[in-house]
């Protein structure tokens, strides 16, 4: 079942509590103010402000040339961004649904990922592709997927998976400032979630630094996106049962901060990875494999995964929730794993 919006993270002195959507919108506005070369294109992002409202007000402030509505042409949106980057601009483009990366896959996995390499490092491709991701309520098999693992497998793309408003803002700002192409997976189920965000134009979260969302000693749980809050909720349920869970959110999959995860497992001796993406060949397998490669003799039990089903996602909003991990499933799995 859907979790209701919750506030995550601790509030600092100068933090405001704002929504994940608002945080993204602020990052876009601030970076466009900071650097004239930054611009955006995508379907319905201008006059409408985006199908999820993420770009609201930006066309008013920056005009129709810097916040540009395209036709229904994903290969142009992404491939055009690659070409525009070669000409000295910094395009931040939106696909309406992360799933649509398949309609521009040559542009993402060949052009963005490899152009620099193929041409001997003569160019940089500072492009950000914003990808509203994950299950959100009846959007169906081609509008609900979590496809970040594919981006992790193809070398040349950085991959962000923010789980909180603060990270959404800070990672997006980092992505825009990064000279490399970034696939930025925003979770649609988090858009309305609120949380503390530092009051600063320079709130930039570096790629490759995991966040320990909850410290614990008995079991390490790695989770991303919507699953971070569910893992935290599970941890709260498990604490009174004597299972003290450490929850780690890697925040970016490329680069991946495996050191933080390994260090945690070396203390807890148990690891579980939770992700919404379908189980088989998902990024949970990569994390599991790296951890056992590096800390095999620290592990007291196998690494477990709690993941999305190996099925397409049904369109029904109730059925689709049954395809991704619930807090209850995480609790049950964690208890069983802790008992091994």
């Amino acid at each position: 079942m859907t979790t209701t919006p919750v506030t995550t993270g601790t509030t600092g002195a100068t933090d405001r509590v704002i929504g994940y959507s608002r945080a993204i919108n602020e990052a876009l506005a601030e970076e466009m103010r900071r650097d004239e070369r930054v611009w955006m294109m995508g379907q319905d992002i201008g006059r409408l402000g985006g199908v999820f409202g993420l770009t609201r007000g930006l066309q008013e402030e920056f005009g129709p040339m810097r916040v540009r509505d395209t036709a229904i042409n994903e290969t142009f949106i992404v491939g055009g961004a690659a070409g525009a980057a070669l000409a000295g601009t910094i395009p931040v483009v939106e696909l309406q649904f992360a799933d649509f990366l398949f309609t521009a896959a040559d542009e993402i996995f060949h052009k963005l990922a490899k152009w620099r390499y193929m041409h001997g490092g003569q160019f940089t491709l500072p492009v950000v592709v914003r990808l509203p991701s994950g299950v959100v309520g009846g959007a169906g098999a081609e509008h609900s997927q979590s496809l970040e693992t594919i981006a992790m497998h193809v070398p040349g793309l950085k991959v962000a998976v923010p789980a909180t408003p603060s990270d959404a803002k800070g990672l997006l700002k980092a992505a825009i400032r990064d000279p490399d192409p970034v696939l930025f997976f925003e979770h649609k189920g988090l858009y309305r979630v609120k949380g503390p965000v530092p009051e600063s134009d320079e709130h930039v979260v570096p790629f490759g630094s995991a966040r320990v969302a909850r410290a614990g000693n008995d079991l390490t749980v790695v989770a991303t996106g919507l699953m971070v809050d569910r893992a935290l909720a599970a941890a709260e349920q498990l604490a009174p049962q004597g299972i003290d869970v450490e929850v780690i959110d890697p925040r970016t999959l490329v680069p991946l901060d495996i050191d933080t995860i390994v260090a945690s497992v070396e203390r807890t001796h148990r690891l579980m990875v939770v992700h919404e993406a379908s189980r088989t060949a998902g990024f949970g397998a990569e994390i599991a494999t790296q951890v056992q490669e590096r800390a095999f003799f620290s592990l007291d039990a196998p690494v477990w995964r709690v993941c999305g089903t190996d099925t397409p996602l049904p369109q029904d909003p109730e059925l689709e929730q049954a395809c991704i991990p619930s807090t209850d499933e995480i609790v049950a799995a964690a208890r069983a794993l802790a008992a091994i």
């Binding site: 379907q43 409408l48 098999a141 049904p314």
Partner: protein
């Protein structure tokens, strides 16, 4: 069904009217439900576009193949699908044509009636439709494939790849563009350098036909001609039916992006009225009453049907 004058024509017109008015009631019933009960997912109303959908499909034979678009149920109903499974899909019921699973606002199917379904990514049916037509050509089964799409979808590259190949191979496929002037928040005029989608037909060496989409019988006739051409082995035709998006992109869309007045409930050039004109009042009233009852009963039945069981999640991944 062909374009005869005389009694056959009259019967055809009544049948088209019956289907159009049934779909209209269905559209209104769904709107009512969405407004009052809310709805999991999005509903893209086809209200006002029913005439062209039914008109075109009425020119198809039973075993011709249909790829519909996302705006309403008119296409599928016209092809013979009963209302209950359509409503069932919409409401996520086990009685839906997809057994409540793949269903919702854009997916329904009926293999026995050759309603082949729809992809969630716009424009994916261009290439699929051409492929279906290639199979018919290979098998020599005499079937024609009809593919509906919006003006917005016409910009996808799959159009180009499918249309060139279909034309070179002279595939039995008919493309029907419902040009309602909008693709979500974007006007067609902002997406197309030419005035009409049909202006692109010569690039593909195929006829481009523009027809008034509010005139169901005109769309029927244009489609019948294109289907005949396709069946004769002369290749594809591009039909552009000019129509209007009466409601927003989805039911509930307040259309803040529009600078012109949003259309009210009045449907300009309403296909229902237009078709109704030539039908005697009492006959028409009879058809209306029956259609209304049919819709109410089917919707109630769908509402009363159970939701799909979770076990269906794991079904149908593999054959």
């Amino acid at each position: 069904m062909t374009n005869d004058p005389g009694p056959d024509r009259e019967q055809l017109e009544r049948e088209v009217y019956r289907k159009v008015v049934t779909i209209r009631f269905a559209e209104l019933r769904i709107r009512d439900h969405v407004e009052k009960e809310g709805f999991g997912g999005f509903w893209h109303p086809g209200i006002g576009q029913e005439g062209l959908q039914v008109g075109a499909v009425s020119a198809m034979q039973d075993d011709d193949y249909l790829y519909y678009a996302h705006r309403g149920l008119g296409y599928a109903f016209a092809k013979g699908m009963p209302l209950e499974p359509l409503f069932g899909d919409l409401l996520g019921r086990a009685s839906g044509s997809t057994r409540g699973k793949g269903g919702g606002t854009v997916h329904f199917a009926d293999a026995s009636r050759h309603v082949l379904g729809q992809g969630g990514t716009l424009g994916s049916s261009f290439v699929m439709g051409a492929g279906t037509a290639a199979a018919s050509q290979l098998l020599g089964d005499g079937r024609v494939t009809v593919v509906f799409f919006g003006d917005g979808a016409s910009g996808r590259g799959t159009w180009h790849e499918a249309a060139l190949q279909a034309s070179v191979w002279k595939l039995p496929v008919v493309w029907i563009c419902e040009n309602n002037g909008w693709a979500l928040s974007a006007r067609f005029t902002e997406q197309s350098p030419t005035e009409h989608v049909a202006d692109r037909a010569p690039a593909y060496g195929m006829p481009g036909v523009i027809v008034d989409g509010q005139d169901a019988m005109a769309v029927h006739d244009a489609t019948a001609e294109a289907i005949d051409r396709a069946r004769r082995g002369e290749g594809p035709t591009l039909i552009e039916a000019k129509t209007l998006r009466i409601r927003g992109h989805y039911e509930g869309d307040r259309q803040p992006y529009r600078d012109d007045p949003v259309l009210g409930d009045e449907i300009p050039n309403d296909p229902v009225h237009r078709l109704g004109e030539s039908i005697p009042d009492d006959v028409r009233r009879g058809i209306d009453a029956e259609a209304r009852t049919q819709v109410e009963q089917a919707f109630d039945a769908a509402l009363a049907a159970p939701r799909a069981d979770r076990s269906v999640i794991f079904e149908d991944v593999w054959a």
